[in-house]
Assembly symmetry: none
Amino acid sequence: MNLDLALRMCESAIKEARRLGALISVAVVDAGGHLLAFQRMDGADIAGPELAPAKAYTAVALRAATADLAPLVAPRGELYGLASGRFVCVAGGIPLWNAETVVGGVGVSGGTPAQDVACAGLAATLWEDPF
Amino acid sequence: MNLDLALRMCESAIKEARRLGALISVAVVDAGGHLLAFQRMDGADIAGPELAPAKAYTAVALRAATADLAPLVAPRGELYGLASGRFVCVAGGIPLWNAETVVGGVGVSGGTPAQDVACAGLAATLWEDPF
Amino acid sequence: MNLDLALRMCESAIKEARRLGALISVAVVDAGGHLLAFQRMDGADIAGPELAPAKAYTAVALRAATADLAPLVAPRGELYGLASGRFVCVAGGIPLWNAETVVGGVGVSGGTPAQDVACAGLAATLWEDPF
Amino acid sequence: MNLDLALRMCESAIKEARRLGALISVAVVDAGGHLLAFQRMDGADIAGPELAPAKAYTAVALRAATADLAPLVAPRGELYGLASGRFVCVAGGIPLWNAETVVGGVGVSGGTPAQDVACAGLAATLWEDPF
């Protein structure tokens, strides 16, 4: 991961948000879950700076898309209780893989869950195919 | 509890993880819930340093295997609301008993719940039968 | 404040950091102290994501450059005790004024205090003279 | 960094502590500041699990030995106020460098500052000269 790629990921997520009519925040973190880049669209809610980095961190820390974690942390799910503290298991966080290793993550917040996932997914494609 | 035993517990848990093809973190805590030893396998997720010690602490603090606590902290369970803050009631934490007294705990994170329980269980047998 | 200006502020701070040979993180926040944009240079320390947004928040919350707050929060200073929790009173945070109103802030971390202040100052000039 | 090296660092620090008659905790973290290995000697204080990992994290996050940070965070120091929250700027934390990059850190707590530094230093030499 590097800043240049992180910035292009943010731009890609925001471009998709504009297409969908959503107002989002987008965060890109490194393999340690630490923020590399963050952008909040004009008019997007102030929860974004809390949630977008937290979704990206969670995707890295638990090595899973936060959308896939959501059912696991629900009552009677096998990770119930984990959705507290630093882990935000709400759709919109996606880990970036290099073979077996998670090298970073992207998190989007502000739209509907489907919109957040779509925007984060677009950003993630830049990692999967940086050329 | 002592460091030598704690280290052998960590090794035992990791050996079982290798056998199961899991990448785990393992923590051993004393009767006060304070960390004695911790080891994270190469490639294991960065949630491990958060969750393995927390599971071990929770097992000591609530004097129960965290897997057994899970239904109690779910909605309508008699400990509902407890699965937040320091208590992590996800499978993988096991208390170590000396008759009626909890003298320590072991916590494993990184595999599936069944894998975490298996690895923690192997480590716990060293306490139950240190010879 | 808006995202476009926040991004140009980040670029300006990073350009100055390159000129000075510093590796920095830069954050721009709105009038509520909430993050609008953040960028961490490749190789900059992982304290940056903690400190740059905190300096920008502190500059907005206390309506002062964090460098000016430092003596006030020291022992016998009139704000002694404030330099804890969310307030980071270390040089590098600058409030952005519109007449009597603070409309945002910029925070830089990673270089020496003088470098951080220089980079934040360059970014702040874009607000003072956006044309 | 990897677990095998982290374990040898822990052993090295504890061996030095025994020689000095100190009772310590030792932590080794990765480039993201996340715990790889931790060991607490029998009889060492329960502050160790809090302080040793925090010193190692701080050394990585601020890319400096915590002993060198101590005067900077003292009153009238240029980083005064930073010694709160996650940053522990007390002697005993050492960053591990690979050329210009910090790839991990070691933290020791429990002895005198000089003892902590000596034990962490011994551990760090294993990184500098792993052969």
